[in-house]
């Protein structure tokens, strides 16, 4: 898995990493701050951050004391935009399918009191 997009997809496939990214959209944070709400070791969080860093999603500043983690929003936005556009196209297709299915229901059902497809 060498291409950059796949690294981003893989990085975002993990729920903890998605959560970390969501929190970093608000502000930069140190490893300790990021780790605080989770019931896992600092080491485990560092590993997650390394995956995010290798995918280009986060960077660490060179401020030696705090080394806050910074979200690279542009990379994140590019990926989410692609996925969302693809999802919207699928949803448009499925809405046309909804209409076809509704027609099939109309063909089947007598004008009865019960169970019209809603």
């Amino acid at each position: 898995m060498t291409d950059p997009l796949s690294r981003v997809f893989a990085a975002l496939a993990d729920p903890t990493r998605r959560d970390i990214v969501a929190r970093l959209t608000e502000q930069d944070a140190t490893v300790g701050e990021i780790a605080a709400p989770y019931d896992v070791s600092l080491q485990a969080v560092s590993k997650h951050l390394k995956v995010l860093e290798e995918a280009g999603l986060v960077t660490r500043s060179r401020d030696a004391q705090r080394r806050p983690v910074h979200l690279e929003a542009e990379v994140f936005d590019l990926m989410t935009k692609w996925i969302e556009r693809y999802r919207q196209q699928a949803e448009e297709r499925f809405r046309r399918l909804d209409a076809v299915l509704a027609d099939m229901n109309d063909d089947l059902e007598q004008p009865a009191e019960e169970g019209t497809a809603s």
């Binding site: 060498t2 997009l5 997809f9 496939a13 692609w82 693809y86 196209q89 699928a90």
Partner: protein
């Protein structure tokens, strides 16, 4: 999010790029029985009514939707024909397995599995899984239809990396 369960409802399509293999999952619930959903996929007259994008005329060129059958359909967009074709390794009551190829890139053959799960309340869940032949192919599929295609996307990412933005 990778596993479906009965408490989740997919009133709108949900998409997930698989972390381990070059595939994309999609989920969507329909007000229909599995039998109706299957028929909307296998009957060419029904299928052609919903498959193409809104601005597109679709027509079936060849259609034999049963195990070991094959298909080809053409979508016209701005006077240009785009053809899609494949075979059906398996078609059963609640599952369709098909290969999928855009004839503009005939070497990239995806394997698509659609399953129809009866939710028991008059609704049926479609789970589609498209397995591409490479991660690059998967990214290309996800970015198709974008104003910025996958190669421009890579170029943009490369530029961002070179800039030190990343």
């Amino acid at each position: 999010m990778t596993t479906t369960n009965t408490t989740t409802r997919y009133a709108e399509a949900a998409i997930e790029a698989d972390p381990n293999v070059p595939g994309v999952h999609i989920w969507r619930d329909f007000d229909a029985t599995p039998e109706q959903l299957l028929r909307a996929h296998t009957d060419p007259e029904l299928f052609v009514r919903w498959i193409g994008p809104n601005a597109v005329n679709s027509r079936i060129d060849q259609w034999d939707c049963r195990t070991l059958g094959s298909y080809r359909y053409v979508c016209e967009h701005d006077g240009v024909d785009h053809a899609f074709r494949g075979t059906f390794p398996e078609v059963s009551d609640n599952k369709i397995v098909q290969t999928f190829t855009y004839e503009g890139m005939p070497e990239a053959i995806a394997l698509e599995t659609m399953t129809f799960e009866d939710l028991g309340d008059g609704r049926t869940r479609l789970h589609g899984f498209s397995l591409c032949d490479s991660f690059e192919g998967r990214d290309g599929m996800l970015s198709s239809g974008m104003d910025v295609g996958v190669h421009e996307g890579y170029a943009k990412l490369d530029a961002m990396l070179a800039d030190g933005a990343v």
